[in-house]
């Protein structure tokens, strides 16, 4: 015990030098699925070295695997590999139908390529893939999965800890993508209190007009409606522009800055109701602040995780969703406001007091967001 044996030490001295000592990579297989109109075509590249270790390929034991030796083993390879890759549609098992054997090379040597089709008793909607190749012989083996689902590419890794993966083929149509992001857009504007309060602040005075420093109710709906239309259009144009620019990566501002500016925009809009500056050109102010709100929408959309292939669809869907949410808010708010525009309470309580409350809330947000303070109101 006084001294270590040399062979022991040799082994361990070099463990520190792991970075540079590998000429090969660890064992991987490459599993590709091509999904077109619900038919699943598989291609599986498995290293000849791994197959040799598992089932023996070198018939004459000369240290070389020839194409002739590999050919005689094709059936054994199908048997070995395909029983270790299982598919289930709900509870029913699907099966793999081997089609063709080829050869390919990766950076660490030659691979057997097995083409096969996946056949299920029912039309496929959700497919469960269970991968179990080589894990018993080499726990460091990984199955590198690539799925091309009607033009959308996904990748994944099978490991002993995560040997299964669910494939949802229902989600894959472009329309469902549009719909899914549309729903997110509606949801975001309806729960995004800062956007709602900004819109409300701008809408409240739309049913009134200002003359000699005082508010007067519009006589007919038409001027009110034109005001609303101008404001909503300006807001939509502005936030659509910045939303697209930010999502496509042309514009990027720190989120703290954006969030603070959004709070500031709500504050200014509320103050403007109390001390109006623009009489007719409110849409200009709306346009400018709308640019900032668009950046806020963008950060939500980016956080949702963007699909690479259908970025345009996701963007369009989300934007349409935001507009729908906006229309919902406006179409509830404006008729109500128009109905009660002549009452004393509309001007005094709703417009003035409401704007003060909105302004206070926005001020809290501004403090909280710009100084990272927790004023306990932003959790609304």
């Amino acid at each position: 015990m006084k001294r270590l044996s040399a062979s022991f030490l040799i082994c361990f001295l070099f463990f520190q030098f792991t970075e540079i000592t590998f000429a090969h990579k660890a064992s991987d297989s490459y599993l590709r699925f091509n999904i077109e109109d619900k038919t699943i075509q598989g291609q599986w590249d498995i290293a000849l070295r791994d197959l040799d270790f598992a089932i023996g390929l070198d018939g004459n034991d000369d240290g070389h695997v020839t194409w002739g030796e590999l050919r005689t083993k094709h059936e054994a390879i199908e048997q070995y590999a395909l029983t270790r890759l299982k598919f289930h549609q709900n509870t029913e098992a699907c099966w793999s139908k081997p089609q063709q054997h080829l050869v390919d090379s990766h950076t660490d040597g030659a691979y057997a390529v097995l083409n096969f089709a996946v056949v299920c008793p029912d039309p496929i909607s959700i497919l469960k893939i269970e991968y179990n190749l080589l894990f018993d012989l080499d726990p460091l083996h990984r199955g590198l999965l690539q799925i091309n689902d009607n033009g959308q590419v996904q990748t994944g890794v099978f490991s002993p800890k995560e040997p299964t993966r669910l494939l949802d083929l229902k989600k894959s149509s472009p329309w469902s993508e549009l719909f899914q992001f549309g729903r997110e857009g509606i949801w975001h504007i309806l729960i995004g209190y800062d956007h709602i309060l900004f819109l409300i602040s701008l809408m409240l005075p739309a049913v009134l007009y200002r003359k000699n420093g005082r508010w007067h109710p519009h006589d007919t709906f038409s001027p009110a409606w034109w005001d609303v239309l101008k404001i909503v259009t300006a807001f939509t144009l502005a936030h659509s522009m910045t939303l697209s620019l930010a999502v496509l990566g042309f514009v990027s501002l720190p989120s703290r800055w954006v969030e603070s500016a959004i709070a500031a925009s709500v504050l200014v809009a509320a103050l403007h109701n109390l001390y109006p500056v623009f009489r007719t050109r409110l849409w200009i102010m709306t346009f400018i602040f709308g640019l900032i709100h668009g950046l806020g929408f963008a950060s939500v959309l980016i956080d949702l995780g963007l699909p690479g292939q259908s970025l345009a669809l996701a963007l369009a869907g989300f934007n349409i969703g935001v507009e729908i949410g906006q229309v919902v808010i406006v179409s509830i708010l404006i008729p109500l406001a128009f109905l009660i525009r002549r009452s004393w309470s509309y001007q005094q309580i709703i417009l003035n007091f409401g704007s003060i409350i909105i302004g206070l809330v926005a001020f809290m947000w501004l403090l909280e967001r710009s100084m990272d303070m927790n004023v306990n109101m932003g959790t609304w």
């Binding site: 015990m1 006084k2 001294r3 270590l4 040399a6 062979s7 030490l9 040799i10 082994c11 361990f12 001295l13 070099f14 463990f15 520190q16 030098f17 792991t18 970075e19 540079i20 000592t21 590998f22 000429a23 090969h24 990579k25 660890a26 064992s27 991987d28 291609q43 590249d45 000849l48 070295r49 040799d52 270790f53 070198d58 034991d61 240290g63 070389h64 695997v65 020839t66 194409w67 002739g68 590999l70 054997h101 080829l102 050869v103 390919d104 090379s105 990766h106 950076t107 390529v113 012989l137 080499d138 726990p139 460091l140 990984r142 590198l144 590419v153 996904q154 990748t155 890794v157 963007l306």
Partner: protein
């Protein structure tokens, strides 16, 4: 994340063209020679173990043999085979000491340093005089830049191993931690007095001496010790890598080229060869850049980042992507903190003009009182 992975992947990896060979006689793959007595022996052991998978001594023997083979053949597949041999004990609550040690080793190779340290601590709790565990622990702490802990793990080696091993362990840590000159001298002393140590131990000591000399800016002595080390084992991968780096810094790429012109090229050595070829404008340069790109990409696909240090160098000097290189170097710095980890982060930060990114390294150099002429120069360029 998925998008990110896909974007790293070279086109031809995604769209390889499988084919059907024309002739049965075509050789597709050369296997690790099966007539090799060592491999034959392993095959027999493996068959034995398949029949009786629960005999610990047999499993440990096989696992150790695979680890050794994995090292000499530079092939990580053998690591997996070693783990498979120990499967019955791998995930149980209190594995036997032998299993813990091998597990720690494999975890370290996968850069799961903290997990490895946990297993080593378990070993030392059961056997406080386990030299191998102390030494491995010291090395991991040193790689992580925890020099106090590393030194504390070297000290118990004094009564357990010969003077050369314990002195090398202690001197190496101390040289990184404010005592470069003294530890260099004490290791020089130990090496010159040593007559009985096995060549591998001597190689370790002399290689580290060469690196210490290089850090101190003493190029002539560094060259001397590198030559000495090559005299002990001219094929050692770590030594070849370290010497190549030294030569590249000295502007001697043609020596690197002749040094590394072997057949078996681990990724790290291929990187150094390609760096030399870039300066020499060799015809194989482009081909080697592509090979490295593919190897890094395939490694990334596995979802495990094992070669970040090398990859950052590759991105900075061969792909000329300073921003990407800086990101990798920063990721790498979270895991390991040796000379090259600090250096590549500093160099990437300089090329990006990003002083803030380099600050953690600069702080660590100050905190640890690191005496490294090159790192100091680089840090100076940033402040």
């Amino acid at each position: 994340m998925i998008l990110l992975l896909a974007s790293f992947l070279p086109y031809h990896l995604l769209h390889a063209e499988p084919y059907i060979p024309q002739d049965d006689a075509i050789i597709l793959e050369k296997l690790p020679v099966s007539r090799d007595p060592q491999i034959k022996k392993l095959r027999e052991l493996r068959i034995q173990l398949t029949e009786t998978p629960n005999i610990l001594s047999l499993a440990v023997r096989l696992a150790r043999a695979y680890l050794q083979l994995g090292h000499t053949r530079a092939d990580p597949r053998y690591d997996g085979y070693a783990q498979a041999a120990l499967q019955p004990w791998w995930n149980i609550e209190n594995p036997p000491i032998e299993v813990l040690l091998i597990r720690a080793t494999l975890e370290q190779r996968g850069h799961n340093f903290n997990q490895a340290l946990k297993d080593l601590a378990s070993v030392l709790k059961i056997q406080p005089h386990h030299a191998q565990a102390w030494l491995t622990q010291a090395v991991i702490h040193q790689v992580q830049g925890n020099y106090q802990d590393s030194r504390r793990s070297c000290l118990p080696l004094l009564p357990l191993t010969n003077t050369l091993v314990s002195t090398t362990c202690i001197a190496n840590v101390a040289s990184l931690n404010g005592q470069a000159e003294e530890s260099y001298q004490s290791l020089q002393d130990a090496v010159s007095k040593d007559i009985s140590s096995p060549p591998q131990e001597k190689l370790w000591a002399v290689t580290l001496l060469a690196e210490m000399a290089a850090r101190l800016g003493n190029d002539a002595e560094a060259e001397h010790y590198f030559q000495n080390a090559l005299g002990i084992n001219e094929k050692d991968t770590y030594l070849l890598g370290a010497y190549s780096d030294f030569l590249l810094d000295q502007g001697r790429p043609s020596v690197v080229q002749s040094l590394l012109n072997g057949t078996l090229k681990p990724d790290g050595l291929l990187l150094r060869l390609t760096l030399a070829e870039k300066q020499l404008k060799t015809a194989t340069f482009e081909k080697h850049v592509t090979t490295l790109k593919d190897r890094f990409a395939e490694n990334r696909l596995r979802g495990e980042a094992r070669h970040l240090r090398e990859e950052a160098r590759f991105a900075l000097y061969l792909l000329h992507q300073p921003k990407h290189a800086l990101e990798i170097a920063q990721e790498n710095w979270k895991i390991q903190r040796e000379h090259w980890d600090a250096r590549i982060l500093l160099e990437a930060a300089i090329q990006n003009g990003d002083q803030a990114a380099a600050q953690p390294v600069i702080n660590s150099l100050i905190y640890n009182d690191t005496e490294d002429s090159l790192l100091k120069k680089l840090a100076g360029q940033l402040s």
